[in-house]
Subunit: 199 residues, 2 copies
């Protein structure tokens, strides 16, 4: 009944890792970085650009000047990437049960009437900071709180722009979990339990 | 570690029923309507008034004129009820593990550094409409959608006024669940699982 699991997440909340473990536990494919390569192939942009633009929206990025000038007549590069990304996500979903991380997948599937179990993972600043430092190391001259807030804002803006819904709003998700308080293994267990119960 | 469970919920989402079942399953006290009697006793207002004013805030209610006139010099009736309610909730929490429904309990406990497992229950309009009709019957001349939206708005305003936080915002809760999609028994199981795992 719910063959697809989508995972949306705050930056540094551990959503990627939870998604990976859920996919392993359920023995189904896991799509996160893999989507980037497929989208790059599909739309012709370099992987780095797809990665940078495929989930983040920024009011002051390198594309803005080109976009502003061309938007009246042409499709913006971000829109091209979004359209390719949508196609790749729908292709993944059509292949069968899987876990897809980020990229408005919950909205894209809902919009096509494809049932999915939609999960949102969050955590407080302290837990996210700890996780980001453990993963990427201490980055000099970078204020981690500001970086977390900026990434969240970009994801929020991107989601709003392409879905006209609010990222993180409980209405979009079947389950929202605080990974900082609940813990990764328990989050994985909960998601797998709901999934199995809904099959 | 998390002896108290607070349940916040959209009107008609089944949060009361889930809380009751969780309390029964864990064999701990359940507080919802019971709080009303205790608050009435505590502050001297009639039960009906405490029930009406203890969780809902409205821009056009019978208290407004009195409040507006007296707010400069006196404590408003709603504030008196809120203060009594806070005292009653803290008293309940201090007695030991329990489930408390609504009334900003998550915020009140957090504000006093009392650890709690905070749950938010929601469901889409169709599920809530079905539940409200099944519980209260068809009420003539009442548009159910409007009634649901109004009750949510009142709870949202009440929560914002007394906590300065946003009702339903994922940041306030450890778990948010869509009871319409997940189902009551599975919601009860998940909450009990997390609770037991955190003990």
């Amino acid at each position: 009944m719910y063959p697809i699991i989508t995972i949306s997440r705050e930056f540094g909340s551990g959503g990627h890792s939870i998604g990976e473990k859920v996919a392993a536990e359920l023995n189904i494919p896991f799509y996160d970085g893999e989507i980037v390569s497929k989208v790059a192939e599909e739309c012709g942009y370099a992987k780095e650009i797809v990665e940078d633009q495929g989930e983040y929206s920024s009011g002051s990025n390198k594309w803005l000047d080109i976009s502003a000038a061309s938007a009246i007549y042409f499709q913006s590069p971000q829109d091209t990437i979004f359209i390719s990304q949508k196609k790749v996500i729908l292709d993944c979903a059509k292949k069968g049960p899987c876990v897809i991380v980020g990229r408005c997948a919950d909205y894209i599937l809902r919009d096509e009437n494809i049932k999915s179990l939609n999960v949102f993972i969050h955590a407080d600043y302290a837990h996210r900071k700890e996780r980001v430092l453990a993963k990427y190391g201490d980055i000099e001259d970078v204020n981690i709180e500001k970086r977390l807030a900026k990434k969240d804002k970009q994801r929020k803006t991107y989601y709003k722009y392409y879905t006209d819904c609010n990222w993180g709003d409980y209405k979009n998700y079947d389950i929202s979990l605080d990974n900082g308080n609940i813990g990764e293994d328990e989050c994985v267990k909960l998601i797998c339990d709901v999934y199995k119960n809904m099959e």
